[in-house]
Symmetry: C2
Subunit: 329 residues, 2 copies
């Protein structure tokens, strides 16, 4: 039997944990991950790719398990020293071990290697057991439009400003209204080498329970990727990141509001749409949504969707693959 | 009484320790340090300035005292991680705290600030109590010509290759013959802003017991600096880095040989020459050299020259300043 080729569009923590379950469920599959780079940020002159690194560290055994991002056994000497120099931001938690990754990446980018080649080189150390591709080698940065409290009061509409996604998410803890999510540079970006080829050759395409707006939505915003997924011969199956009208983790509801989508499992399926999705898994507490989703032309099943451990996550992956086979048949 | 303006040409450890003694001897003096940048090196995409940092850390209270370079209380997580990525060199000992300095420097240089402005910004934190100027904002890198053991055997002269000074000094421990010392880029370099002005306005100019070839020699190799020192109205007094025919510390004898100078206190004075030096201090064990040095037209005194602690070093500084007054009178 030929190796099953699975393509997964992934953000950070949710995508990484799902991938660990998927690898456990189908250890012989050939998994290609198309990672979000819209949350990439330049800090201290270094290129930081939080989502790519979370996938790499999680699958490579280097992740800080409780936290879900960053390195296990981390120390913070560099960050303390930067603060002593008055150099910030202090709100972004870069540890010493993590810094090394960004130093290597920045050095390679400076030497002319594209991000995809750099990611491959970093993965030579981590051996994540998947092929990890950035969605694009071009710079895309997700910005969030928020109210500007510093703007001078005056007549007319309130002043707004765009901040980097990380500033909105990490510094502000998504605690202010997001009026729009703007993947700056996405329109001019090209899919990284191998991305479209992997989608075209896939046997199954999966959307993990990642953020549908700022993770998977950003990947789909790179011209060519949405069209490739929609036109792929492989079934496309997603897993709801919303369970019982709230995000399983993170603050997906905040950015869903910015794009006018309700925080429900059914609304997220509708947001992707039947043009993209063939199948959708909702949690058993959202079984009532199955009918709505199927009425929209998307095959739907209600199964447990809490990634409490690798085995529970592997079961979710098996359900997703089973739904894909059902759709295909 | 107006503040005494002292200009010191300095390398790394020897210069830094002498400066600590000088500050202790004349706490009210206005001291300008013209630091060697010929040992600067790009490592991991970061700009490292070992001599400037050694002066800054030593005078700012952050130095690793026993080692003489690098930070006290240092850790090495970043370096270990870089090694895990297979990224070297491993022979250069950059600690986590030290990395922060290079990250800030590289970020500022990338933003367009010249090295002199970056050094001033870093010194805002360290408050070294001196004005620390790089000899030049232009890139100068000292290379050392050594035999090339990898060259194919063949007729004619043995093959040689140039390696970065740090590779010769740190990796090879100056353990192979140095055939030439080449300050690459020096001919095109300009003195940093303030350097020539400080020399012209100085009341005294001092050469600490730093390496006369790769530290002070490199500073003097920047066009305009040697001429400014030679033409300055202030007396120029140096302290021998050679005591009893051997370097007080380091491996100055190795690079003296490369420029055809004996490792003696008198030979180093002769290397600088009476065109540059007005006064020269040798150690008491080298009292026999006084006559030779004076015969060459340089006023000379034999005094204890071991920088065993700050008080002994302060006494050396006082002797140097006294000799300057004697020369001036």
């Amino acid at each position: 039997m030929p190796t099953q080729r699975i393509v997964v569009l992934a953000g950070g923590i949710g995508g990484a944990r799902f991938l660990r379950g998927l690898k456990s469920a189908v250890p012989d599959a050939g998994i290609t991950v198309i990672g979000n780079t819209g949350d990439d940020i330049h800090l201290f002159g270094l290129k930081v790719c939080p989502d790519l690194d979370t996938v790499m560290y999680t699958l490579g055994g280097g992740i800080h398990e409780e936290q879900g991002w960053g390195r296990a056994g981390e120390s913070f000497a560099v960050k303390e020293e930067l603060a002593a120099y008055g150099v910030g931001p202090e709100w972004f938690g870069l540890g010493d071990r993590d810094f090394a990754t960004h130093i290597v990446r920045t050095q390679m980018l400076g030497a002319g290697y594209p991000l995809s080649a750099v990611t491959e080189a970093l993965c030579e150390r981590w051996q994540p057991g998947v092929r990890l591709l950035p969605m694009s080698d071009d710079r895309v940065e997700t910005h969030v439009l928020i109210d500007d409290p510093d703007a001078a009061a005056g007549p007319g509409a309130p002043s707004r400003k765009a901040v980097h996604f990380q500033e909105y998410w990490v510094r502000l803890r998504a605690g202010v209204p997001a009026h729009a999510i703007i993947p700056v540079g996405a329109e001019q970006a090209k899919p990284a080498p191998g991305v479209l080829e992997a989608i075209a050759a896939a046997d199954v395409i999966l959307f993990p329970p990642s953020n549908p707006v700022v993770s998977i939505g950003t990947v789909l915003a790179v011209p060519g990727i949405r069209e490739a997924v929609a036109g792929a011969s492989a079934p496309v199956v997603g897993l709801s990141p919303i369970v019982g009208d709230a995000p399983v983790r993170g603050m997906a509801d905040k950015v869903l509001a910015a794009v006018g989508v309700e925080s429900t499992a059914a609304a997220v399926a509708g947001h992707y749409g039947s043009g993209l999705l063939d199948g959708w898994l909702v949690d058993t507490v959202d079984a009532g949504a199955v009918e709505t989703v199927e009425a929209a032309g998307i095959r739907c099943r209600a199964v447990p969707l809490m990634m409490t451990d690798t085995e529970a996550t592997a079961a979710m992956a098996r359900e997703a693959l089973a739904l894909a086979e059902e759709v295909r048949a």
